[in-house]
């Protein structure tokens, strides 16, 4: 069997990607004109909130693709080899979206608008004992430094791991070289995981998202954010795999791999619910006012519609629709569910961000959809470019045979 290793980006694909990016740019401009350029601090916060929500969500989602590679590498998994290059290609979006997100985050942090991040208002912090207490962590310099370090570290480590993967494309390895290569991969994946756990699984969601509600805190928050974006990342990988299969690429990928991706999405949706509920239940049970402020606008206030819709999409839909074996092996069902999951967790991020700057009314989602479409177009464009630059199959990897004969 000859494998089609070289992906040629279809013209229509790029046309769609660029159209989406144009829609995104128009949405951002529109949002700026109607909100961002106004004198009202609330309206400005609406503009920045939308940028924050979308850039952070899509950055964490594309970074989850690299996490997927590293986690499976550490577990010495072989089954993902057949489509490993797809997740590698998605992870090339990290530097691009990372720069956008860094610009947005630093603008919010150092800007004059304190509606999103109250703790950036130094005058206010002086009179606020809680924020004053948190000053050692929640201050502009640490925020900026840690944000830049994080994005650079993800980008550099991702680049290193992709380079390792590409380095054996033209030279088959002997058994001894293969062992060394696997070990090398393991070490770099471990370094990535350590950085990942110090950032995505702990400090980064505190700084970027939880500090919107700076008086409130939850120890579940980072895990919950991670679970959200990991489901999104897996869904994105699956969508690209299905897209490439439909275009007669990735001959080695079959229903067995799709089944395992489906299991991952199913399992992490349940994991997400577990964290979501654990965070909710403890606060509901203790019923302490400083803790319930977070859930008041979300679960019972004007955001309750989005809150419960998001819960249904992210928990009930995968629970009921992805439970059956046949559903996970069906390309149409999986495509539908992946789109739904990406949308559902995007909605989750929406309700994480907006009740902070806009507690009295729910912003019109239409603008945010536009901005999200822009990021989707960007991911399509960058990933397509990366896919066309590297062979689609890591054919010399020592574990490739495991993936070919994979059976669930």
């Amino acid at each position: 069997m000859t494998l089609r290793e070289k992906f040629i980006v279809p013209k229509r694909y790029n046309a769609i990607a660029i159209t989406l990016m144009v829609i995104g740019a128009l949405a951002i401009i529109g949002l700026y004109v109607t909100h961002g350029a106004k004198d009202d601090a609330h309206k400005q916060a609406r503009f920045w909130g939308s940028l924050l929500q979308n850039s952070v969500y899509f950055l964490l989602v594309v970074n989850a693709a690299m996490f997927f590679i590293c986690a499976t590498t550490l577990a010495w998994g072989g089954w993902q080899m057949a489509f490993r290059r797809v997740s590698e290609a998605i992870s090339t979006c990290v530097p691009v979206i990372g720069i956008i997100a860094a610009v947005i985050l630093l603008s919010i942090c150092f800007g004059n608008n304190h509606e999103l991040y109250h703790w950036t208002d130094t005058e206010h912090v002086k009179h606020d004992p809680i924020l004053n207490f948190k000053k050692g962590f929640l201050n502009k310099n640490f925020f900026a430094g840690w944000t830049i370090f994080t994005i650079v570290a993800w980008s550099v480590l991702g680049w290193k791991i992709r380079k390792l993967s590409r380095s054996i494309d033209d030279k088959p390895l002997t058994i001894e070289q293969g062992k060394k290569y696997v070990w090398n991969n393991t070490v770099w994946a471990a370094i990535f995981i350590v950085i990942f756990s110090l950032t995505v699984m702990s400090s980064i969601p505190w700084l970027w998202l939880m500090s919107i509600d700076a008086h409130w805190y939850s120890t579940m928050y980072s895990w919950y954010t991670f679970a959200s974006t990991f489901v999104g990342g897996l869904a994105l990988i699956t969508l690209f795999v299905v897209f490439l299969k439909n275009n007669n690429y990735l001959e080695l990928v079959n229903e067995e791999h799709l089944h395992d991706l489906g299991k991952f999405i199913f399992a992490f949706s349940i994991f997400w619910t577990y964290l979501w509920f654990s965070q909710f239940m403890l606060i509901w049970y203790a019923n302490i006012p400083e803790e319930t402020t977070y859930f008041k606008p979300r679960a019972q206030g004007i955001y309750s519609g989005i809150f419960w819709l998001m819960f249904m999409i992210n928990f009930l839909a995968p629970l009921l629709l992805l439970m059956r074996r046949g559903a996970k092996r069906n390309y149409s069902t999986m495509t539908f569910m992946c789109l739904l999951m990406i949308f559902g967790h995007w909605l989750d991020f929406f309700q994480m961000v907006f009740p902070g700057p806009s507690p009295d009314h729910v912003p019109v989602l239409l603008w945010d959809f536009g901005v999200a479409l822009g990021f989707v177009g960007l991911i399509m464009f960058v990933t397509g470019r990366a896919l066309s630059r590297a062979p689609l199959i890591a054919k010399n990897h020592p574990f490739i045979k495991e993936s070919v004969i994979h059976h669930t």
Partner: protein, 196 residues
């Protein structure tokens, strides 16, 4: 249960077993089962077995557990014995979710284990017979079921030709064996006539 006649053969290698299963099915023999010391991926597909219904059973058990937990706690705390816990409503659903989850898992797990044992005809004190004891150790044992039209010698020759060793004809009682053996029963492949 009826005693049936089987032709059995031992295989030592997956690489021989898989093509052999294919050839046997193509030749039209009826595979009773293939006994292996460990699960072999893809063998069920190669033998043309249908998917197990154990999942469906598990789902039903799980739903039963959910309904039991929610039903009982609701009845106990809202109807039978109302207690005010920290000013919470009597119908305090979030507080019941952990118990509901646990009962779901418990019912599903226990139910599925019991169902599995039933399907595999395993229970305490049930004496299981083997076509070949080595199927619990290091070989794969294929058993072909003989019908009226099967020619033993031909089937044995065929099994040998596709890589089986220790090919033999055996008479076995199939089905649910609880309490079916008495002291005179001959076991482990000893000869006996087929009863139809």
């Amino acid at each position: 249960m009826a005693v049936k006649k089987f032709v059995t053969g031992n295989f030592y290698d997956e690489a021989v077993l898989f093509p052999a299963v294919k050839k046997v099915r193509r030749a039209g023999y009826k595979i009773h089962d293939v006994f292996t010391p460990f699960p072999i991926h893809g063998l069920d597909k190669a033998m043309g077995l249908r998917d197990t219904s154990l999942h469906t059973a598990g789902f039903i058990y799980g739903i039963t557990g959910t309904a039991t937990a929610v039903g009982f706690i609701t009845w106990a705390l809202t109807v039978d014995w109302q207690i005010n816990f920290g000013g919470k409503p009597f119908f305090a659903l979030p507080a019941w979710i952990p118990i509901t989850f646990e009962l779901t898992v418990l019912f599903a797990a226990v139910g599925m284990v019991l169902t599995f044992c039933y399907l595999c005809q395993l229970a305490p004190f049930v004496r299981k017979d083997h076509f070949n004891l080595r199927s619990t150790d290091d070989t794969f044992v294929m058993a072909l079921e003989c019908t009226d039209k099967t020619n033993d010698a031909e089937a044995m020759g065929f099994l040998q030709s596709i890589g089986a060793s220790e090919v033999q004809v055996q008479y076995k009682e199939t089905g649910w064996w609880l309490g079916r053996y008495d002291k005179e029963t001959k076991r482990f492949g000893l000869k006996e006539e087929a009863v139809h």
